[in-house]
């Protein structure tokens, strides 16, 4: 899997956006089709933010998805 690592400034911005969306009730649990042992296939909003904050591979993927959301919204505004 190709995961792009963001520069610290962008990472902070993405984390802030995740936190803000959670506070506004705009985040929900997600399911994944991934069978890795000891890795949950369901992530609550809190777990997503925690993984992103810790910089785990799946957390990086969550940040990457957050960036995609920004891009999709920008493209349509």
């Amino acid at each position: 899997m190709t995961i792009k690592t963001f520069d610290p400034k962008m990472e902070e911005l993405l984390l802030e956006r995740m936190q803000k969306r959670k506070e506004q009730g705009q985040m929900t649990g997600i399911f994944q089709l991934d069978p890795q042992i000891n890795k949950p296939r369901y992530f609550t909003p809190e777990q997503r933010i925690e993984e992103a904050r810790r910089g785990t591979p799946v957390g990086e993927e969550f940040l990457f998805a957050e960036k995609k959301l920004m891009d999709e919204l920008k493209r349509r505004m």
Partner: protein, 266 residues
């Protein structure tokens, strides 16, 4: 045409019912050579037995996956990078996590006509209570529908007779249409941005490999039995044929046999 639909693996209920819509669509189009391996049948031995017995041209499987493996109902491996030669000469679509990284390229290397899958953890959201699905069928779930319908679109388009690259585009178009829906038509929904985010994530994680895609000029492409379209080389995949289409060449033979039968009875 072989479908693999596990049910008992973690959170597989949505895939089990989601792919049932693709199975039903294939039946509705008159395809009769369908093998639907579901629930406990969606495991390695029944899958290998069905491939050996029925020799399906195309396989649509859903299940948990990693870079190098695709798993079934018991979450045991069905196909791995070291065990996928059985897919020689077939078109494979694996709705699964991550197989586009290693397993997909190996499937092509082993001689498959085409492979479609994802190089990311395929992700969806759903209406849930305590982390469990409220609606078993994702097509009745207000959030899960857009994910499963988009993912099924490649197969629906192939069954409709579209070419490989056209079916891929149809799937991407479906993902984009759903992103537009959440942005323009339903932005007030609290989870509209979640849907946009994960639909874009899944769409961009799509990997399509074709055994002709390594040819980069028209003459080599066509000399290898492939077709040159929009400056790219694609396989000429045999199209799925419905009953009506397949029976047409047999009509004169059926008529002759019928006529002979009538004459003999007289």
């Amino acid at each position: 045409m072989l479908f693999i639909r596990p049910k008992n693996c973690h959170y597989c209920e949505h895939g089990f019912y989601g792919l049932a819509h693709a199975v039903q669509y294939a039946y509705s189009k008159g395809l009769w050579n369908i093998t639907d391996l579901n629930a406990e049948q969606a495991n390695k031995d029944p899958v290998n037995n069905a491939i050996n017995a029925k020799d399906p041209l195309s396989i649509y499987g859903f299940g948990h996956g990693l870079e190098d493996r695709f798993t079934g109902d018991s979450e045991e491996n069905i196909f791995t990078t070291s065990e996928c030669s059985i897919l020689f000469g077939r078109l494979i679509y694996l709705l699964s996590c991550l197989t586009g990284n290693l397993l997909g390229p190996e499937i092509i290397k082993q001689g498959a006509l085409g492979y479609v899958g994802y190089n990311i953890s395929w992700t969806w959201i759903a209406d849930t209570e305590n982390g469990e699905f409220v609606y078993p069928d994702p097509y009745t779930d207000p959030y899960a529908l857009c994910f499963w319908e988009s993912a099924n679109e490649f197969w629906i388009a192939m069954v409709d007779g579209l070419e490989f690259h056209e079916a891929l585009q149809a799937m991407i178009d479906r993902y984009n249409a759903w992103i537009d829906y959440w942005f323009y038509d339903n932005p007030e929904d609290p989870f509209s941005q979640e849907c946009i985010m994960w639909l874009a994530h899944d769409r961009d994680g799509l990997v399509a490999l074709d055994n002709c895609s390594s040819y980069t000029d028209q003459s080599t492409c066509e000399s290898r039995g492939c077709q040159w379209i929009n400056n790219s080389c694609y396989s000429k995949l045999p199209q799925q044929k419905g009953l009506a289409t397949s029976i047409v060449p047999l009509i004169p033979i059926i008529a002759l046999v019928g006529l002979a039968f009538i004459i003999m009875r007289k």
